[in-house]
Each structure stands twice: as structure tokens, then as C-alpha cells.
Symmetry: none
DNA sequence: GATGAATGAGTTTTCATTCAT
DNA sequence: AATGAATGAAAACTCATTCAT
């Protein structure tokens, strides 16, 4: 998925979160979660460019990437970046929210399909993660923030949806029974990490092969029992700054 | 420092962190690739502390981590760090060399066992990678160096050893035939990445479960054919600065 | 805005803050020294709010206070501030003119009373200064401008009026003879300075007690001779930028 | 008092606070309150130069004075300033502590003399404040910090000492009975404020005359009753940030 | 060999000012 | 007339690096 595509899909999700289910894509839709005076068209465009640039820079350089580098990539002045995101944390937080929103979106889509086609629901989910890995920037290196309320809520909701997906798949005996939602999230997180110094296509090819093997390992026939799984809540409990 | 030496010194640290005082190694092993006057005992200790601190900081903050932060973690003065590593690149390079040395070491150990116990050789290798994930720091974010001759040689040699391992395993029909050394290296790289904000034990538990499923997916019974594999040389060709 | 106009507008604000809705003044008095088209009602209101906010900010933060902070306090957009005051100096200048106008106003009122009640004229003047200390902002910290012609004229006129007041009071033997107009201005200047971190009422209480003691010291009976007084002209001579 | 003099007297006080009562002046005495590795001689010199420059700049420009301006005045690099004072607040705080230390020092000296010469004790105190007004920078404009524990303690101790001084003076009937320690502190605070745009000698002359009149107002013969006094504790209670 | 200190060169952040709506 | 937005320039702050002890 190219950057533009990523941006669009993020906007889509955000529209849905506000309940405006309808009309495909509308440029200039106000992108904030909290109700705010609608951004002017040019400002909204700048904001998305900054986020796209931030995603790219964070992948390449970590979350310590110079902000003026990000502004330069976005083609805006550094002060414009600051106008939208009062500090680095706010920017990181929004990138995280967007990323987790995409994950939730994919989980929901896969879950919806699970009823009719349980055998491919998980595959759909994980491969979609690989596809949009550039936009995820999920487990950000050095990200000082993940205790954002919105992020935590997205994570929780994602886990719920994935458990539902797993339930349907298990019922169809299309997945080994000892795999949990946390395992699927872990797989997403690992596979979306940048593999620096590789061109995107190669990195994606490697990630795809990895997920393919992992998917084969998920089939019931493969079942060699797994070690015990950490509960999702145990993990979420740690999702706050400075815990590692 | 020769390769073995590097590995040993990393292991030493690991052992020390766990309280098991090592005995088998001569203190003061010359630490550079080029022959150098043996370091004084305290100097050698400082050097290892700096490397350990650097590994930790790089994992948490990326390779742009402030050098004086690293010095502080190591409990030494910044000037002492500079005495050992003339610049950031030298430090990154040594961390990489140490990390890749550990990978090669593990590959060799597993390969040696492959003759007698082909069914567990791959498992041994991948699980050992999970175990030492904290020390690997393999695909460093923002690392400007990977074209270090020593690193490239280690990577090449590792690929050779792993192919040998795979050959033995394939011969025993203990692995699907379409998996390559590159897939094993990819799995190592993905699984060793830090999952920030999680305590190490939880992160390792998640990584272990992931690798377990992956291992199950590696078994011949699982085989659903994989997409085509990038050649190892194609990958190595990109392992130089600024290729993205 | 002429001098009377300036004074009036400040008084208006003061009155409004106290809830006593003034009646005696025409809205929309032209606000600049040079004749200008009468401001629209809302524009005039904005202008006064900016000046009030500037007084407050200058007292708290000095004259280097951020202009957008002032705009925020005034509840207007920064660009609106700029429409009225082309630069920081213009704003400072107006605050000074307003402040010195109030001083002159008070001096004139006290002087008028001096003929009939010489014993309380000085007291009236100094206590009125304490009362309106929040509006004076007289000796602005870091103010780059005091060589404004209007300000200098106000200062000169004030000195003249106060000397006249002193003459009447001296004639009635109601003040020690060695006190000059400069001493009264100094007392005003000192006592109007903010005492940061104190609530206004406490600060005013302290200032009032101080002036009360000072007033007692002004009585002829107290007279222990003072050191020589700097001439007013000597002081005015320094009232220009960058003299320290 | 010139800057060098001010520096010396500050050092004196600080030595005393640590109990090392003795030997007049020792350059290079470690200047920090909390026990710290003694500063190297050149570093200590730099530190005092920074503080002297800060006092000057704060008087001229308020506490928002550019830090690199202060560094320039002190003849050190901005990073050297930051090495000693991690942020603007730390610098302001130290200037305050130094200032209040000087006040306490003067209060103590005057109090010591009060037993033998009660008639001049208050005069000694207030005139010493005028003399060292350049070093006091007492009620800093826009100073965001005054809730520093050390500052509060100094203020409290000063009030105690001044009450003792007043008790002795009252016993000798050398002061009106309704004046309190708070009034003396207020007088110090008012009189030390910079009068910008005036050369120091003129400003000091004006301040001296003001204090002379005030002193005359303090004599028992002058007594016209004062309005009620705020308690010192009431004032100290407000000495924290953002209270005005 | 190790360290405290200093500094030049960034990077981050804020602010004054202008422009387009 | 008022405002949201953008920006260049400045100030705050950090960091890599060197020097003297």
C-alpha cells in the first residue's frame, strides 16, 4: 500500500468512528477525535502529510527522528507541524491511534467474513496486516507514549473482535484451539516492524513468507501444544511509559 | 577482537546479569579486530558495560540514542566512552558484530546437532534466538552502518551454515522443502525486535509462542506452498547505508 | 486619542471591572493621537480589552510578554491585536500614555483641592496612586520606549502640577519643605510595581501601609533633612531607550 | 555596591549557612546548598559570573530575559550556563536565594546592633537594603517560582529576626508601635525594584530619599495609626507560583 | 586511564508577523 | 473587521566532541 492509500484508509476509519458510515471517501473530513472546529481544507491536507511523513520517518529512524526532518518530508514549515501537534508525543500518539485504528478495521472486516468463510478469516486478517505494514508503525521504538486512552481502548476493542473471530474459526475447526487474540496481535506487531536497509518490496516479501509459515502453523493439524499465553489484560496493564 | 572473543564477551555479560559467575574465559581478551594492546582490567570492564548499555539504549530509543545517555547507563564518563569508540558508528558496528556473532554461534551449534538430531535442529536455533533476543539488536532502526566488512562476512557465513542445517533437516524430512535460510534469519530478526512497554519476560513469552506456531508451520505436513523467496544475496546487496 | 480620551477609556475599563456601569463617556471616542475614523463599537471594545490584557501581562511578565498571550487574555485573535497596534512598541506606548495620563489626572485633582484643603492634598494624590496601581504600570521593566513625545509631555506636565500642589501645601506648612515633585513621582512609581505572587488585595494593603508611613514622614514635624534631590530634568533626560 | 562586592557578600552568606563561620572570604568555596562535589575553581568562577549576569539581566529585562544574553554577559557559552542551571527556573531560584540571603544577612547585622543602639537599627537595615538594591532582585517580575523551600525558609527566618529587631527598638521607643516586620520587608521589596532608564546612581539617590522619608514616618512622634497589617504568614501562604 | 568542564553545532520549541479566507 | 493558518526567525535546550585536570 502506498502512502496515499494509507492516508485514505486512515481517514475512512476515522469517519466510521464518528458514525458517519456512508460515502466512501470525503477529502477534508475533520481528522480529530475530539469535536473541533472543522479544519480548513489546506490545513487538513497539511496535517495528513505530516502524519504520513512521521510514519515514514519513525520507521526509518525511530521515534527520535528529528521533527524538522518530518516537516521537511511533509513539505511544511516546522511551525506548522507544531500548530497541529503541540509536541512530539502528540504526533506519536496520533500515529499510534491511526495505526491501531487500521488494525481494528482489519480485525472487524475479517470478523465479518468469519461467519461465511471461517477458513480464511485469520489469513485475511494477518495478510492485510502485512499489506499495510508501512502504515502501522505499531510497536514504535522508543515511543514514550502508549498509555493514551484512545489507544488503549482501540487495543481492547481489537482484542475483543479478534476473540470473536477466533471463536467462529474454532467452531469451524479451522484453527488450533490454543491460539489467542494476543497471538494474532503479536504476529501483527512483529511483522509490521521495519526491516531497515531493505527496499519495501523485499521486506514485504520476507514478511509475507513469514506469515504464510505462521498461518500454516495455526492450522489444527499442526498442533503441538503452546506454552501458556499471557492474558491480554496483563499486557495492556503494562502499556504505559517507562515500563521497558 | 576476533569473532569468538566478541561472542564470549557478550556471553560473559549475559552470564553476569544472571549472577552465574563465568570461569571459562580469560579476562582481558583483546577487544578489537585489529591486534591491540591488551586492555587493563578496569578498562575492559568499562568497555563491556558501555556495549551492554548501548544494546539496551538502542533497543529502547533506536540507534540515535544520546551517547551520554549510554555513558550514564554504563556508569562511565562520556569521555571514557569516546576513548573506546571514536564515534557512534564504531559503537553501533561493535554491537552489530556482537549480535551477528551470537547468531552465527547459535547457527553453528544447531548445525552441529543437526546430524544426530535433525528433527530439533531448527527448533534449537530459533528458540535460542528468542532466548538471546535482548542481545541481538539485529535489524537496528536507523543504523547507518551495515556495510561493515566483518558484519557482512558474519551474515554470509551464517547463511551458509543455516543452509547446511536445512539440508540435513530436509534430508530427514523434518522440514518443509520450500523454506530457506533467509526465512530463518527473517524469523530471528522479527522476533528479536523489542516490544516496547512490555516487561522483558512478557515480551519473551509472546515471542516464544509466536516462534512455536511458526515452528509448527515449518513442518512438512503443514506445507501449503510459499510465495517465492528473495535470494540471500539480493538481501545482502541492500545491506549498506542509506538504501532505506 | 487625546489625553483626556485615553484617561477616560482606562477609567471605563476600571469601572467595568467593578461593575459600576459608567454613563458619562461617549462610546467610540477616537483612540489615536492622530485623528482617525471612529472605531466600530466592537472594534473599540476589542481595543480596550487588548490594552487591559497588556497591562496585566506586562505587570506579570514584563514588557517582553508574548503578544499572543496578550491576545489570548483579551479574547481576540492575534491578528486583531496587530490591526490596532502595529508592533509591540505601539502597544507599550499606549499603555504608558494611559498610565501617565492617570497620574496627571490624579495630580490635577489633588492640586485643585490643595487650595481649599492643603493638609490632605498630598495624601489624596498618593493614596489615589495606590488605588489605581494596577492600571499604572509606570516604570515598565524592559520597556524599550519612554522617549515618546506624548509620554514626556505628560511627565513634564505632571511635575509642574505637583510642584504647584507642593507649593500650596508648603504654604500651609502641611509638608516638610525639602520634599519635591520628584519624590512624589518616585513614591508613585515604587508603590505601583507589582508584588508578584501576592493576590491584588494583599499587595494593595501592603502598599497602603507603606504609603501611610511615608505620608507621616512627609509631615514637617518629622523633618530630618533629606539628601540632595536629583532635578526632574536630570531624570527626564534619561527617559529614553537603552540608557539602562 | 558593585557586582564583585555583591558576589562576595553572597558567598559569605552561603558559607555561613553551612556553619563554616570563619575566615572572611575564600574564593572558590563550593556555592551550592546541597552537598555536592566541590566545583573546580574555574567552574565556580563561571557560575558566579552567570549569577551576576542574571541579576543584571533580570533587573533590566525581567525574568524572561534571553538566557543566551545572560550567558553572553557572563562570558560563557550557553551550554555552560545550562550545565550549572538545568533550566530558567533553577537560575531564577538561585538568584532569589542569593537575594533573600542578603536580606537575612542585613537583618541579622542590624538586629545584633539593636541591643546597643536601638535608635539606628532600623535605619541601618533599610539603608543597607538601598545600598545593595542591585543585588537583591527581590520581587522578581514574572518570576514563576517563589515556592522554593529554601526561599520560604529564608523569608520566614528574616521575619523572625526583624520582629526581634522591632521588639528591641520598640522597647527603646525608637519606632512607632504599629509597624511590623512585614512593613520592613515591603519597604525593602519596593525600594529595590529597578527604575529602568535611570543610571544606577540617580536611581539609588531617589530610593535613598524615599527611604529617608519613610524612616521619618517610622518615628513614634509621627504616629498616625496605620490600617491593619496582613500577617506575615498570610503573605508567605501566597508565595507560590501562579497566584498572581 | 578516567573524569569534570567547556563549547559549537544542532534540534526543539516559541513567537512575531503576514497572508488568505 | 476578524480570524485560522502559515512561516521565518529567534530563543530554549540538547548533544557530540574536545580539552585540561
Amino acid at each position: 500500500m502506498d502512502i496515499v492509500g494509507a492516508v485514505v484508509s486512515v481517514e475512512l476509519i476515522q469517519m466510521r468512528r464518528k458514525g458517519s458510515e456512508g460515502t466512501k471517501v470525503a477529502r477534508g473530513t475533520p481528522p480529530r477525535g475530539t469535536a473541533q472546529p472543522r479544519l480548513r481544507a489546506d490545513a487538513a491536507r497539511n496535517r495528513e502529510q505530516v502524519l504520513a511523513a512521521a510514519r515514514q520517518a519513525f520507521r526509518e529512524l525511530g521515534t527520535a527522528a528529528p521533527l524538522d526532518d518530518i516537516a521537511r518530508r511533509a513539505g511544511v514549515n516546522i511551525a506548522t507541524l507544531y500548530r497541529r501537534f503541540p509536541d512530539r508525543d502528540a504526533l506519536i500518539r496520533q500515529v499510534l491511534v491511526d495505526g491501531y485504528s487500521l488494525v481494528l478495521e482489519a480485525a472487524r472486516a475479517a470478523c465479518d467474513k468469519a461467519a461465511s468463510e471461517p477458513s480464511t478469516a485469520i489469513e485475511d486478517f494477518l495478510l492485510s496486516q502485512v499489506e499495510q505494514r508501512e502504515a502501522l508503525v505499531l510497536p514504535l521504538i522508543g515511543g514514550p507514549v502508549t498509555d493514551d486512552a484512545e489507544v488503549l481502548e482501540l487495543q481492547r476493542e481489537t482484542a475483543v473482535v479478534l476473540e470473536r473471530l477466533l471463536a467462529a474459526t474454532r467452531a469451524a475447526e479451522a484453527v488450533r484451539p490454543d491460539v489467542t487474540a494476543v497471538d494474532l496481535i503479536t504476529a501483527s506487531a512483529l511483522v509490521c516492524r521495519p526491516l531497515p536497509h531493505l527496499p519495501p518490496s523485499t521486506a514485504t516479501a520476507l514478511a509475507t513468507r513469514h506469515i504464510r509459515v505462521f498461518l500454516d502453523g495455526l492450522r489444527p493439524s499442526a498442533s503441538r501444544p503452546l506454552p501458556s499465553a499471557p492474558e491480554h489484560e496483563e499486557i495492556v496493564a503494562h502499556l504505559r511509559p517507562d515500563t521497558a
